[in-house]
């Protein structure tokens, strides 16, 4: 039962980057198109699941004094794997995400979960935690990207949804729009959960 609790908390209760204010930079930078958002979300999910499982399996072996350095190396290893795989098999995505793939190392979600969760819990629970938060992050990025893509280009994931007379709202695509829409979305989430 605990397994499902840890899995589902990532979808609403602790959904990053809203509840858990980590990983803001990529959330702002790659959320102008849905395809980029999903690619980024899945990359983070992969790194998070792998690093959580490995760290929780090694939690009794890692000396507490050097644990942060160990965590960084473990996370960085999986990030390099993602970097190489996307470079080899999905080159267009690799080019679009660019510098933000190596920056998953310092995106704080994998490192934060390693310190706060995987270091203290068993392998199965850490797996659920990583998967839940990773998918939650993907959903959050997708929602933000869908809003911005509809307003800026009139499409969702490349499919036309607005009438052809729709005038693109370029503000949503540029940097200021990213900040404003993420802020508004966060405010709406706070409002929704305070009503309950």
């Amino acid at each position: 039962m605990r397994f499902f609790q840890e899995l589902t908390k990532g979808f609403w209760k602790e959904i990053p980057p809203f509840r858990l204010v980590l990983g803001l930079c990529p959330a702002l930078a790659v959320s102008d198109l849905c395809s980029k958002a999903i690619g980024m979300g899945l990359a983070v999910t992969f790194v998070l699941v792998c690093s959580n499982v490995l760290i929780s399996a090694m939690r009794n072996v890692i000396p507490p004094k050097v644990r942060i350095a160990m965590f960084i190396i473990i996370v960085a290893t999986f990030v390099v794997i993602v970097e190489m795989v996307t470079h080899a098999f999905v080159y267009p995505l690799y080019q679009q995400l660019g510098i933000f793939i190596p920056l998953i190392v310092v995106n704080c979600i994998p490192l934060g979960r390693a310190e706060a969760f995987a270091n203290k819990n068993g392998v199965m629970l850490s797996f659920a935690d990583g998967l839940g938060l990773g998918l939650g992050y993907t959903i959050a990025l997708f929602v933000l990207a869908a809003i911005r893509e509809v307003l800026a280009v009139g499409t969702i994931y490349g499919y036309q949804v607005m009438a052809s007379s729709f005038k693109p709202f370029l503000f949503a695509k540029e940097a200021p729009g990213a900040f404003v829409f993420l802020g508004i979305l966060l405010g709406l989430m706070n409002l929704a959960s305070s009503k309950k």
């Binding site: 350095a69 190596p102 404003v180």
Partner: protein
């Protein structure tokens, strides 16, 4: 000389690392509640990022490229930055206690500031030489500091304003950052390309 000036203006105002390239947002939201913490964080970033830019450039050129190990770039850079931060902290504690007291608590946070790793990677991506890398690192960090201090100035006023309950904290912080980004966007025409 004018080339460097252009580079500095471009990195500080036009392509501001924080507001136009979205790097370093976590400390931006975290340390901007008060003016003095914002100043401390800004100065610590300027110091570490300039050093890190120089050192990672040297590591890339003389170690990674020389021995054909470029695929290790991400791991090596993050380790170099983490070690550098630790080293700077120890050195400051011993040699410059007043500066250490001012910047000390911000130093460990810098390792996971994506602006630092981001700028080091950009230096390599843009194929800058050593001097350009150092200037670009310094200018980017100065842009980060400028945005952070300006933002803290605005944010201090939140304390005396009436804010809708659901927008308190990060939500309004992000919207404010968006409006600031809009202001910085106005500089776009200044530098071409």
């Amino acid at each position: 000389m004018s080339k460097f000036l252009l580079m500095v203006i471009s990195a500080v105002l036009v392509k501001n690392i924080l507001l136009a390239q979205f790097l370093g947002n976590c400390p931006f939201q975290g340390t901007s509640k008060k003016m003095d913490t914002a100043m401390g964080m800004g100065m610590a970033v300027v110091f570490v990022l300039t050093l890190a830019g120089a050192i990672t450039w040297a590591v890339q050129t003389f170690v990674l490229e020389a021995f054909d190990l470029v695929y290790l770039q991400t791991i090596v850079f993050i380790l170099v930055i983490a070690t550098l931060v630790q080293f700077v902290e120890m050195f400051m504690k011993k040699a410059m206690p007043p500066l250490y007291r001012a910047l000390g608590i911000f130093l460990p946070l810098i390792t996971t500031n994506c602006a630092v790793l981001g700028v080091c990677l950009l230096n390599i991506q843009y194929e800058y030489n050593f001097v350009n890398s150092v200037v670009f690192s310094f200018a980017s960090a100065a842009g980060f500091g400028l945005a952070l201090v300006l933002f803290a100035g605005i944010r201090e006023r939140f304390a005396i304003s009436r804010i809708p309950k659901s927008l308190e904290g990060t939500a309004l912080g992000l919207v404010t950052a968006g409006l600031m980004a809009l202001a910085f966007w106005g500089f776009t025409g200044m530098v071409k390309g």
